[in-house]
Amino acid sequence: MSRADVLVDADWAEAHLDDPEIVFVEVDEDVSAYDGGHIRNAVRLDWTKELQQPEARDLIDRDAFSALMSDKGISNDHAVVLYGGNNNWFAAYAYWQFKYYGHENVQLLDGGRKKWELDGRELVKDVPSRDKTDYQAKEADPSIRAFRDEVVTSIGQKNLVDVRSPDEFSGKIKAPAHLPQEQSQRAGHIPSAINIPWSKAAADDGTFRSDDELAKLYGDQGFDDSRSTIAYCRIGERSSHTWFVLHELLGKQDVKNYDGSWAEYGSLVGVPIQKDV
């Protein structure tokens, strides 16, 4: 797999907006952003209401993913191009979920909404009408998703990559600095985790850094290529961004996203936590 298989740039996207084989999908942290203007012909996925279960804290199941895709007019054969705000955090989370349910052809738009806007490219308010499909999701792929028990037994054994900001990692704050400070019961990080913030993998405009820069970034921070890897953040979106970098761009083997992340781990009873402040 190469970068071109998983990533498209804005020029390419702009030239393919009317391609019937491609569905552009916007996924934002602020789910109302789509209403204010979106890429022409793009449909919206609401991560809070559509990609997660309404009650239990979990991803939607296979049948629900099939029904969701069918309702959105996405077929198993469509090429899906995901993009969103927040440097593609939530688009990367959706990308990981598409892969989790076995969608073959899915890509991220490099730079997401931010670069598109900063370039001054067209945004529209028309919501496209798409015919319903009969989407069949595949069995969930456990090789890319980590749960808490595996995380605990991986301490000191696997690369645990904490992709949050340094202040969240050290335990100074519990949530990203654009959110009120709440969430987990305890602050800090999983013992033996290395702190490689997701943001180091992206330029100011949200585009991913080059493969050479990315390889150097993780190598310099103590990433061990001989070990399996689990990435985590606070609720699993930023770590999806890093999962994308490690697994999809750099092609590293056995990389999982721990979507429970610090919101779960930092509230567990009886697990070890390291705090640096």
């Binding site: 900001s165 654009h178 405009d205």
Partner: protein, 99 residues
Amino acid sequence: MCGAPDQDTLPALEVSAGEAVVHGCVVRDGEPLPGAYVRLLGESGDFTAEVQSSATGYFRFYAAGGDWTLRTLYRGGSVDTKVTAQHGQVVEAKVVVPA
């Protein structure tokens, strides 16, 4: 402040002892600039958070105390603004984008 508070999207402004609030507005030609990307960078230049200025140009971060740089991206360029925050306090910053 930068015109009407953006009450649709943000909770009322409160600051607890364990955090510092950095907020303010982005202006160009004396007018609020919506849609700018404001990045909060730490003392070593490390990225900490990013928000987009609201319809009234407003932005807000819940940060730790310390010296911060607000790097504001807009169509055509970016501008850096320095700000110092202290735990338990609210600090207001004005980002002026070149006309």
